[in-house]
Structures are given as structure tokens and as C-alpha cells.
Symmetry: C2
Subunit: 358 residues, 2 copies
């Protein structure tokens, strides 16, 4: 079934209000989750309401947080997320980065004591209307083995970068630094399909084509796969850098110590910081060159790449963000599809919280 | 044969002085090239003297440049490299980033009108003694096809990030964003070996195992390989971001318009900016949290990863920078090996420039 995005947003906001969130915070969470749905990333959309609710019920998330900067310089801030729902801590953090950039040219915020923040791209895109480049990084639960390791020490740690343009749509890269996301493996596993070598390994660290191997102690590989032959060590560098910027700089938990973001997993015994961590950047374009000049140059960059010769007529060369924009355009017009399993979950939660049904 | 690094550095400096560089600039170029040799990256070391010399002789590089900031905000600067040898423009740019960071918390410099700058890691490591994280990016000659493209539109665009530590050696990631570098393909090609699928494609964009395919119009693939099955589109995002930060932000040439860095290739007909571009960052750690706290936490991060269970006893889990540091320790003690082909090239150049032989 399909719903108008505004209806979904208002309904989702009501759920979080009923969980005890102030109205403004509930609105932020709803907006981030519906943005994921609109961009065709349902794994970070309404599917998360159930997990967030379970975390709130278990009192593992603070619904009345005071998200605030605890330390500042002209171009930086460290933000204490006060164990908020991730989107609440993250949006405030990115707003601070943007304000810093207005004065100092760039703004950089490391956030600790936060939780799962939804799609990384949401926060990077906040910079666009200010003629700024937006950057958003987060660490995540450990599912990924560094090169040569048999252990899960890193998350699928995404990087999002949004870059303004003049007439072309903006360049919006938003990607897990690993070759595949957990959600896609789960789908392959349910379908009984295998996956190519280079995505996962078993618990001993041997190559595997079993998408269900994570349930058996296996791990996702870094971008470039296992070992170094196809550059897996470079993927390890990228995923590690996102972890370090998000956690060691902010004072959050790094790598294997990131607290579980689902209530059915117990809290970890060892902690090396506060909560989960993010890192945000805002770069004022005219801190380097006139904004119009830059944006026209981006248009030329995009045109050059988009019109390059494709290896395959079925797949023209794309610009990061193309796919998500196409989906968003369609869903804004025709409504957002919600699969029945998720619809049922939302109905149950609405029932439990005494919120009017969707 | 092996030489003491100081002897190599002085000799290299003499060569660049004889080419017309001021003594201070010649010293910088020599230091960057010898740093590459010491770190076991000879493809970016003395091998480049011949190319740099040919570019100088062809008057395609300015040996008396005025490298200067043309625009500034508290945390940023745009630097005009004045067509200098890359290391001269890059070192000055990174120094400006570090000075900005001392006051504003972070410093970010986009450099245009530059040339090949050697190893990216050199500039990122300059930040370490200031208790800063150092970042260094550059674009490079187009050899890489974006996902689905049959054309070479991007360079092997490296990322270097150096992160301070307390008692552990620093974390130093310095890697081309592609799965393999051009130099390594050339070696495989000379040995008559093939390479695994996932590194290169032919001129039509079909997978290839021929390491010599670049000479036939082929291209290097992005990290994650061709297509999207193993995440090649994420590698495309990374390589594209390095290009955009280095060139569109600075006003240098992007992607396919990066000027050739060897004199035997003609200048390109079309230009979309000035020279080749770099991007540098310096992040003062205590702009986020007390430096000692951060550095101790980095030690814990490194210890956690280094002592994790390896999938293979022959290959323990490594920390970025481990390999290069081992090589450097050995070469500082025992001397730097120089292969006879490079030695002969250097002798010829010394002869031509009337410089005392090595």
C-alpha cells in the first residue's frame, strides 16, 4: 500500500510524541525516517520505528535530551548527544556546524553519546541551501572484519557528502564504506541465494558466499574484499577513518564497543566512551571561491561524467544521488510504498501508544 | 646498491638547485622524494626526478614560483601554486592549514595551479608534531573509469590521513582510492603475469586480466571493481570526491582535464581550471577534546585492532602505516636501495646539469 509522505510524517511524529519526545524532536525523527523512505532506503526508514520504540521502552534512549556543545573553537564543537534518539542529536550537531561555517569558513562537529541516526545523507544535505558542502559520518555496530582479521571490529560506517550545483541536481554521495549492507544480505539469505566471493567471510575468516553467514559469527568484508589483492586494505582504511573521526575525536565508543542499537541485544560489558558517535562538516563554498563559479564548475563536472561513453547501453554513467532523486520524485507524486509487515508493526505500535492509526 | 638517506637527499637537492630552483625549494622536493624512498614507495621517489626534470626543461613547470594564498577565511585558504613543482606548492599549503588550525581549531587549504606532489602522506604527517590530524588529497592524471563508463575520467586520487597517538606509532593511512596503482600494473605486465578480474577493464569497458591493458586504451577500475556487485560504485564516489575537493573547490582542472605530469605527453587542448589540484586539512585535536585523552584513546584503538584474532597466522592484523614504518626503520639504518636503472638515470641527469655524481 502507498501513503502520502505528509501523512506518514505526521503519523510517525505522533508515535514519537506518544513515546515522550517533545514535539520538535518527534518532528525531526519523523522527517529523517520519511526522508529515507522517499529516497528509496527503507532499511533506514519506518522499519526503524520498532527498534527505536523498543530502545525507548527499555529506557536505553533518553526522550528528553539536552543536546549541547560541551566544547568549542571558532571552527569546531564537541556535542554531547545526551543519549538522544540519533536524529535529534545529529540534526542539532549539523546545525552547529553550519553556524560555525558562516563565521569561520568551515564548521566541524564531533558528537558523542548518541544513537543510530538514520540516513547519513540527511544531515549532509542540510548544508546545500546555505551554499555549503555538507559531510556526515557515523560509526555503527561491529559487523565488519578489518583486513586479515577474523573478528568483527567495525561498523558499515557510512560517508555522506552533499555538494551544491547551479542547474544540475546536487551531487549527493551517501554510502556505507563496506561493499554491501546488512539489510541486503538478509534479503539474499531469505531468498536462499548465494552472494559472490568478496562480500563476506565465515567466523574463521575464510571467504564465504553464504549471505546468512553473519548469523554464524561471520563478518562483512571491507570495500575491496578480503586480503589485499583487490584493495581490501584500502577499504579497511576508509571504514577505520570513519570510526576514528566519529568516536575517538568525539569521545564516543569506537569499533567493537559501539553499543547495540536494538533492545534485544544486551548492553556491552566494556565501554571506552559515551554512546555511539558521529562527525559532521560544513564547508562554505565561498570560503574558497565565489559560489556561482564553483557551482557552474560542478555542473560541468557532472555533465562531463554523465555524457561519457558507457560500457553498457543498459547502464549509463550515473552521478551520486541520481537513483535516490528518481525515487523521491516518484514517491512524492504517487505516494510512498509501505510493505505489509512494516504496516502491521506500525499499527501495533500505534495501538500500544494509543495513537490514531495510519 | 644502497645509499645513506642524507647523501641521497643532498644529491637530489643539488639536482633541483641546478635546474634553477631556489635552495629552499630544492630541499623540499628532495625531502619529499626521499621520504617516499624511505617509506618503501619508490614509484613516488627518485624515479620521478627524470619526469620532473623533463617537465622543467620543457618549461612546463615554474622553478621560481611565488606560492601564495589568494583568498582566506579564518579556517580556509585558496592557494595559487604558481605552476610550482608539486611538493613546493603542497608543503606551503599544508603549512598554511596548520597555522589556520592553531587559531581557528581547523585549517583547510585548496590548492590550484600545481603539479604532481609525490606521496600524499608526507603532507598529512606534517600535522603530527602539532598534535593535529593531517589530511592530504590530490587529483591525478585520468586512468580510472567511473562505474559503467568505458572512459578514463579520474585519477588514482589518493587520500592520506595521519593521526597522532600517545605511545603507539601514529596511524598513517596513505592510499590511492583505486584497487591498484599504475606502477604495480606495469611491473606485472613486464613479468608477463595476469591480474585478477576487478582491477582493470579494456577500452570497451569489459573486464580484463591483462595488466598491460592501459596501453591499449583500457582503464583502472574503482575500488570494489567494475559494476556494483562488489561495491564499485562506492569506490567511484570516493575517487570522485577526492577529485572535486582537489579541483572544483580550488579552481584546478578536474578529472579528464588534469594536465599530463610527464613531458612526453602533449598538453591537453581543453582546460577547465589552473593546473592540477590538491586539498589539505589540519585538525587540532584539542579543538575537540584534550590531546592526551585523544591520544591515549587512539592507543587503545590500535591495541584493540592489532591484537584481534587473525584469519591467518602469516598475516596478523595491521594498522595503517605499519609496513611503511618497518621499511623506514630498516632503510634509515642500512641505507636506501636504488635500482641500477634509476641510478643510471640520476647519473645522466647529474652529468647534464654538471652536478657532482652520487
Amino acid at each position: 500500500m502507498k501513503f502520502h509522505h505528509q501523512k506518514l510524517r505526521r503519523f510517525t511524529q505522533s508515535l514519537f510524541e506518544a513515546m515522550g519526545c517533545p514535539s520538535a524532536d518527534a518532528e525531526v525523527v519523523a522527517d529523517v525516517l520519511i526522508a529515507a523512505e522517499l529516497r528509496g532506503i527503507p532499511s533506514h526508514g519506518l522499519m526503524r520505528v520498532k527498534d527505536y520504540y523498543a530502545m525507548v521502552k527499555a529506557e536505553r534512549i533518553n526522550t528528553s535530551p539536552q543536546v549541547r556543545a560541551t566544547y568549542e573553537t571558532p571552527s569546531t564543537a564537541t556535542v554531547d548527544g545526551d543519549n538522544a534518539l540519533g536524529p535529534v542529536a545529529a540534526k542539532k550537531s549539523m546545525q552547529i556546524a553550519i553556524e560555525k561555517a558562516k563565521v569561520a569558513g568551515t564548521g566541524w562537529v564531533a558528537t558523542n553519546n548518541s544513537n543510530h541516526y538514520g540516513i547519513a545523507g540527511y544531515y549532509s544535505m542540510m548544508a546545500l541551501e546555505h551554499d555549503m558542502i555538507g559531510i556526515s559520518l557515523t560509526n555503527a555496530n561491529p559487523l565488519v572484519a578489518p583486513t586479515y582479521s577474523a573478528e568483527r571490529l567495525l561498523g558499515t560506517n557510512p560517508i555522506a557528502v552533499a555538494i551544491p550545483t547551479q542547474n544540475e541536481p546536487p551531487f549527493i554521495a551517501d554510502f556505507a564504506t563496506t561493499p554491501i549492507a546488512r539489510g541486503k544480505l538478509a534479503i539474499k539469505s531469505k531468498l536462499g541465494e548465494s552472494v559472490p566471493i568478496g562480500l563476506v567471510q565465515d567466523k574463521e575468516g575464510s571467504p564465504s558466499s553464504n549471505p546468512g553467514i553473519l548469523e554464524q559469527g561471520g563478518a562483512i568484508l571491507t570495500l575491496g574484499g578480503g586480503g589485499v589483492d583487490l584493495g581490501g586494505h584500502k577499504g579497511y582504511c576508509m571504514t577505520a577513518l570513519v570510526d576514528i573521526f566519529s568516536s575517538v575525536l568525539s569521545g564516543a565508543n569506537f569499533g567493537p564497543f559501539v553499543p547495540p542499537q536494538v533492545a534485544y541485544l544486551p548492553l556491552l560489558e566494556q565501554s571506552v566512551g559515551k554512546g555511539l558517535g558521529h562527525f559532521f562538516g560544513a564547508i562554505r563554498i565561498d570560503a574558497f571561491r565565489p559560489a556561482v563559479e564553483f557551482k557552474k564548475s560542478m555542473d560541468t563536472w557532472i555533465h562531463t561524467f554523465r555524457t561519457s561513453k558507457s560500457a553498457d547501453f543498459a547502464n549509463p554513467v550515473q552521478i551520486p544521488g541520481d537513483n535516490e532523486r528518481k525515487t523521491e520524485t516518484a514517491y512524492l507524486k504517487d505516494g510512498v510504498p509501505v510493505i505489509s509487515k512494516i504496516f502491521d508493526e506500525l499499527c501495533e505500535i500505534a495501538d500500544a501508544l494509543n495513537v490514531e492509526q495510519l
